[in-house]
Amino acid sequence: MTTTITWTAVCRLGDLLPERGAAALVGGVQVAVFRLHDDQVRAVGNRDPLWGANVMSRGIVGTRGGRAVVVSPMHKQAYDLDTGACLDDPAAALPVYAARVRDGVVEVVAG
């Protein structure tokens, strides 16, 4: 069985502020897309797994112990943007989606 990977364009890199995110709807899935300080992008699930609201894209982006993280605006848990692991609660995690920038366009695989 072969799987086709589909990259979906969600916005231009310039639509995102450095170290800030935005929500995108990709194949019915709510994705939080972030632009890091070096113009790399990351994509994770937009839903806060502990509180249920779709708000992860509105969190503060930064680092913790050298790992790139986003902090939930609900109750401040930090999530690793590369692995989705919650650094404050081992039981919680975000789904991680592949993301890249191609010709100034942010693309995500999800859904």
Binding site: R20, A23, L25, Q30, P49, T63, P73
Partner: protein, 816 residues
Amino acid sequence: MRLVVIGNGMVGQRFVESLAARDTARRFTEVTVLGEETRRAYDRVRLSAFFDGVSAEELTLAPPGVPAGTTIRLGEPATAVDREARVVRTAAGEYPYDALVLATGSRAFVPPVPGTGSPGVFVYRTLDDLEALRAHAAGRSAGIVVGGGLLGLEAANALRLLGLRTAIVEFAPHLMPMQVDAAGGAILRRRIEELGIDVHTGAGVTGIAPDGDRLAVGAGELTLGADLVVFAAGVRPRDELARAAGLPVAERGGILVDASCRTADERVFAIGECAAVDGRCYGLVAPGYAMADVVADRLLGGDATFGGADMSTKLKLLGVDVASFGATTGPLDVVYADPAHGLYAKLVLTDDARTLLGGILVGDAAAYGVLKAAVGGPVPGKLADFLSAGAPDVALPGDAQVCSCNAVTKDQVLGAIGAGCADVGCLKACTRAGTTCGSCVPLLRSLLTEAGVAQSTALCEHFAYSRQELFDLIRVRGIATFSALIGEYGTGRGCDVCKPVVASILASLGGGHVLDGEQAALQDTNDHFLANIQRDGTYSVVPRIPGGEITPERLIVIGEVARDFGLYTKITGGQRIDLFGARVEQLPAIWRRLVDAGFESGHAYGKALRTVKSCVGSTWCRYGVQDSVGLAVALELRYRGLRSPHKLKSAVSGCARECAEARSKDFGVIATETGWNLYVGGNGGFRPRHADLFATDLSTEELVRTIDRFLMFYIRTADRLQRTAAWLEALDGGLEHLRAVIVDDSLGICAELDAAMDRHVGGYADEWRAVLEDPDKLRRFVSFVNEPQTPDPSIAFTVEREQRVPVPLGMPEVSA
């Protein structure tokens, strides 16, 4: 066994607690405490704090409830002790005893001169005295304090706080004659006069005569006019019950007891200020506490004795540092006097200069803790360092007493730190150190630091600086961006702790719109979307209604906006209207409607001024004496948008009835007949605190300047998320220091603070309107970057009590 305790003052209370803690076998099944005052024991040492806005309840020493078997009868003074029948009599009944403890304290001494019974003549001993004094002082302008000792200076400062022009009359040739010599007294006098208090020394009071509505006070050669007179010229032990019961008293008064605090009657003990241990009375609380513990031990068969006491004192009148400890004259006095800087220090040493016996510090008492603890041993460091002001770094011996009120040693404090105490609050709770007069708190703090457990002031893993240090770096170096700051002074890329802090500092320093450039990435989500995020990810919008005043037309607009956008509507505690359930992409449209109707949205979120509440004031209210609404509107408009370490709340009441609850606010204003009283450092919430009275009868202009400086000083120096209450409590020197800085400009920064506030006020712009006018910012308010027209499908509402409320969110499964 039955025990009767006469007196529920500081020492009587300590005794009851001490006994209850030791009497585990319940030997005393029936304990009766008779108290003349109508309140339970309170902290008399901090009595003056009552005029700083600390309430009578806050001064209470007694924990709620009483130990089992104990009855406390307040307002029921003992009238006689019948030693033969072994009963104590009161107007209401008789109380038999097997053991009796007298803890009747002292009374204020009033010299036998004519006219001391006139209305307007007071003493300074009980809360009732202070209440009467305050009531009488209302609307009057001048007061005289008789007595220039510790107590007199405290009373004089209190009159000053009540807004009276104050004079001190002292019989001796200089102030604080018991502690300070002539040279020290002269320097002290200057300091006191700088506070605006007149000092007349070498002047005994000869009499008081009513003079119309006022009093004419004869003082030496002078006749002084005043509205009231306070006698603070010493105390006399209350030994009258003991005398009448035939118990021996000391030559100069005081119930004679031996080192076990027992009187000539083996069933009767005396403790505290009423007791003369081996003929000597002690007018301080620490020796009284020691006596209480001795008697508790003795009554249970122990053999404790009272071994004399540390008579160190420190004037609790910050801004004027005076302290004396140990002997005040001795074989060898080493004196340093610097009248130009108002400094005086004297150390008393043994002949060979090897042993410290005591000393006096005027002008700067920073070395008090260290020196006091060193009495009886060598001077802990170079003599010159102590004499020329300041507290050099030296280690205290372990058995040195850190808190003399509660006899707590350095070792006990270190023990508590070892057991896990990591802050002053915990040390207070675990050791009692610092709970009485509070003068050892700075020492406790430095012991914590020395022990290495003081919480690191580093903001987070990215910055080794405290908020205050970052503020100064940014201000002094003129740093304009987070990148520049973290590049030069930090590590990593920042986080949810340091980014909002830096955003707030930049905003306080006038950094333009909160969403400009790089600043946008620093803001907490509420500041980023200029609204309050709710549990379902929608926002609430709270239009600003300055002072809570609103026209019917505008009220209707709010109703229409709420109706048109289907927003749940609720009146807030801050006299505004909160509109809930706005999706992020709806926010600009809602603001547009509000802006068009002349509103701005409000900072109901974030670390900034929230609201200035008001009562209706003199315009309508029969009791109002000033226009509280007008002032509240002006204050809210002045300080709106001001970013601070934590939220700021305020209120203005139009009269002393205080309907606006101003004393629960960070800064609260209460109208007086002639102006405004300003209170600072209050809050409700998790740990409620009443604001402290900071200044009285200010004109509107003075009031506004004082608040400007208070806020700016707070913004510059507070820790992250430290409300003004906690900030003030942690501020070295407390309220007096704050006064020195923002009223007397002791740090020379008032002009800067004023300029900073003027910049804020001049630079304020409606942040919501600015978003509407900037397409770049507006673009961020969408549900999805790739489908801006599709609302978040997970947001759903149901109806409750006729309004839309969120459907509880199902918890999605957690992907492991």
